[in-house]
Amino acid sequence: MEITTGWYLVLGALLFVIGGTGLLIRRNPLVMLMCVELMLNGVNLTFVAFAQRLNDIGGQTVVFFVLVVAAAEVVVGLGLVVAILRRQPGTTADDLSALKG
């Protein structure tokens, strides 16, 4: 059976949904960060699949930009998470709910 672009698109969408669901159901801030990465990688796969189908190099270069942005985000995100965990070890996402209403 031939693997068409559509399969890659579906896989990308699945990765995106899995990442999104993970962010909604996991409490550990680090895992939530990883879930965001998963979503971004799902999008990356989509870009590459489209680039393949359109026979266009543009979609593949976008992936590099996204990787760079993701790296920058992770740097900041890890910094924030570490800053919190250092002060209150074992903090989960649900513990950060003092601001509400």
Partner: protein, 625 residues
């Protein structure tokens, strides 16, 4: 000379600016004199403009002069100018607004003597006068709206002027809340008119082709919502009795003579748009308000509350006139009412002043000997409002009753309601005069009532003069004597003419005089000679204004009720009333969605995800269609 119109609002504005900059430095009484001079100058300017207007030909359309200052809003197809419109209607309004306003400024110099915020009071008064004149002179709905919001804000500040009193702050909020409902009607009406006619300028609206019947009725009713909020008509009147918390000159100027009549002005200004269906609604609500408020006034003990309900009732008369198509009668009554109601309020202020802030009529009595000028002028006001000829109130009220009689759907019914109201008016005003000035002395030994200073009694005398002869501007029967009617005629799309013959007119007038005298007689028998047991005349039901107010308070807003209590717990400041006043429904809606703001970021992310799904579903649904 008409070109000088800009001077009329400019003078109070200058007064306001002077007081803003140096008001507290120049202090009492100079701040008061600055403000009074500005108001008086404004009145003189209005007289000059009137002279200019009279010098022009009445019928060629010359008596409508627009002074455009600058292009305010050039938004797309909607062009709005900042400009003034001088025509018979606006100058008539301006004359009594500035005239009565100047007298009340003068009166306040004495009345506010010794108040720690003396100069601030005059600052607000001048700002109010400026806003009111913008409302009157604006050449389009948006400029009028500017004045409309301005007078609302000033009214609000002035009601809460003594805001160390809890109730004053609450009353201010109540006024703001109800006025916002009216403002909403004004805004929607403005956009509806623009969307239907493509303009918001009065002269262009007047020359536009008519709207469809449905659209016209909708716009008319929206305008009426706006007017009802400002002019305290059913069911939006709840704020006016509470507004009496403000200093008495404010009650006289803002809540009797000028601001509350701006709803009448608006409807008369837009007379070309009002459809017959809408007019019927206006007439019915006007009559109902007149009757209801008169009933409530019967059993009040507070000297100012009686006058407040009386004001609502008289405003109801004005709307009854509009609803009957008799716009001139409405404006006529606005003017005479401004004279005698300002007189009565200032008189009551003089009494309160002389009695050291006592407002309960049960603790007064026999004051006529101690306060002769106040008593004499108050009696003039009483005769005017009771409809005794030849005092001014008789003429204007008689014209309204005649117009109601001729209303084509339910004329006689409206007339009858008006007549009952007139009876009640004569009754409760007589009761008030007797309780305050006649009978036996009921005040405590340590109170020493005294007559007020000349700055307070001079305005009383001048207003009393106006209340006596004010009817002269529009005397019936002889055509040439209808000065006001001829003067205002050019602004009406469908000038109103009385169809009844002279004999009908005379009969109706005699009936209304008889009814007035009857009311006075009953009250005299009951309250002066004690021939009728008075307990039965003021059942508790009426005293509490038929509980409408407290029902409102329970449902919507107001002091001392359970919902207010909850709000007080919710926020310890004095500002809860405003929040509460938005209505239980809005709060409920807020409390319904507040749990979503839970503080948990995963819930927020779920919100984002659900929102995203909804958007995608809506878009996909659009594809399927």
């Amino acid at each position: 000379m008409v070109e000088l119109v800009w001077l009329i609002p400019a003078l109070p504005l200058i007064g306001f600016l002077i007081l803003l900059l140096v008001g507290s430095r120049i202090g009492e009484p100079r701040a008061g004199w600055v403000a009074t001079t500005a108001a008086a100058g404004s009145f003189l300017a209005a007289v000059v403009v009137l002279a200019g207007l009279l010098g022009k030909d009445a019928h060629s359309g010359d008596r409508s002069y627009e002074l455009v200052l600058f292009q305010w809003l050039p938004s797309g197809s909607l062009k709005v100018e900042a400009g003034f419109l001088v025509d018979p209607l606006s100058i008539t309004m301006a004359l009594f607004v500035t005239g009565v306003g100047a007298l009340i400024h003068l009166y306040s110099i004495g009345y506010m003597h010794g108040d720690p915020k003396y100069s601030k009071f005059f600052l607000y008064l001048n700002l109010f006068l400026f806003s009111m004149l913008m409302l009157v002179f604006g050449n389009n709905l948006v400029v009028t709206f500017l004045g409309w919001e301005g007078v609302g804000a000033c009214s609000y500040f002035l009601i809460s002027f003594w805001h160390r009193r809890e109730s004053a702050a609450t009353a201010g909020k109540k006024a703001f809340v109800t006025n916002r409902v009216g403002d909403w009607g004004f805004m929607v009406a403005t956009f509806a008119i623009w969307s239907a006619l493509g303009t918001v300028t009065y002269t262009e609206i007047a020359s536009s082709p008519a709207m469809s019947a449905a659209a016209g009725t909708a716009v008319s009713l929206l305008l009426f919502v706006a007017a009802a909020g400002k002019s305290a008509q059913l069911p939006l009147y709840v704020w006016l009795p509470d507004a009496m918390e403000g200093p008495t000159p404010v009650s006289a100027m803002v809540h009797a003579a000028t601001m509350v009549t701006s709803g009448v002005y608006l409807l008369v200004r837009m007379n070309g748009l009002l459809t017959d269906d809408a007019l019927l609604v206006i007439a019915v609500i006007g009559a109902a308000t007149a009757l209801f408020a008169a009933l409530s006034a019967v059993a009040q003990h507070d000297i100012k509350k009686v006058l407040a309900y009386s004001t609502i009732s008289q405003l109801g008369f004005m709307f009854l006139a509009i609803g009957s198509g008799a716009y001139v009668a409405a404006i006529f009554h606005v003017i005479t009412h401004a004279f005698f109601k300002a007189l009565l309020f200032l008189g009551s202020g003089s009494v309160i002043h002389g009695m050291h802030d006592e407002q309960d009529m049960r603790k007064m009595g026999a004051l006529r000997a101690l306060m002769p000028i106040t008593a004499g002028t108050f009696i003039v006001g009483w005769l005017a409002i009771a409809g005794v000829p030849p005092f001014s109130g008789f003429w204007s009220k008689d014209e309204i009753l005649l117009a109601a009689w001729e209303q084509k759907n339910i004329g006689p019914l409206l007339w009858f309601v008006g007549l009952v109201t007139a009876l009640l008016t004569a009754y409760y005003m007589t009761r008030q005069v007797i309780l305050v000035f006649f009978g036996e002395q009921r005040w405590d030994e340590d109170v020493h009532p005294h007559e007020s200073s000349w700055t307070m009694t001079l305005p009383l005398c001048l207003l009393a003069g106006a209340a006596i002869v004010g009817g002269g501007i529009n005397l019936p029967l002889v055509k040439e004597w209808l000065v006001l009617e001829h003067f205002l005629e050019p602004i009406f799309a469908h000038p109103h003419h009385f169809s009844s013959g002279t004999s009908t007119k005379v009969v109706l007038a005699v009936i209304s005089v008889v009814i007035g005298v009857l009311g006075i007689t009953i009250a005299t028998l009951a309250w002066l000679f004690r021939r009728i047991p008075t307990e039965q005349l003021e059942p508790e039901f009426l005293e509490n204004a038929m509980y409408v107010d407290s029902t409102y308070a329970r449902v919507v807003s107001g002091p001392g009720t359970s919902s207010f209590q909850k709000a007080a717990d919710f926020d310890k400041g004095v500002v809860d009333g405003a929040v509460n006043g938005v209505g239980a429904a809005v709060r409920k809606l807020g409390q319904l969605i507040q749990p979503a703001q839970s503080g948990y970021m995963r819930n927020y992310a779920t919100g984002v995800a659900i929102g995203a799904l909804m958007i995608l579903v809506v878009l996909a649904w659009g594809l399927l269609l």
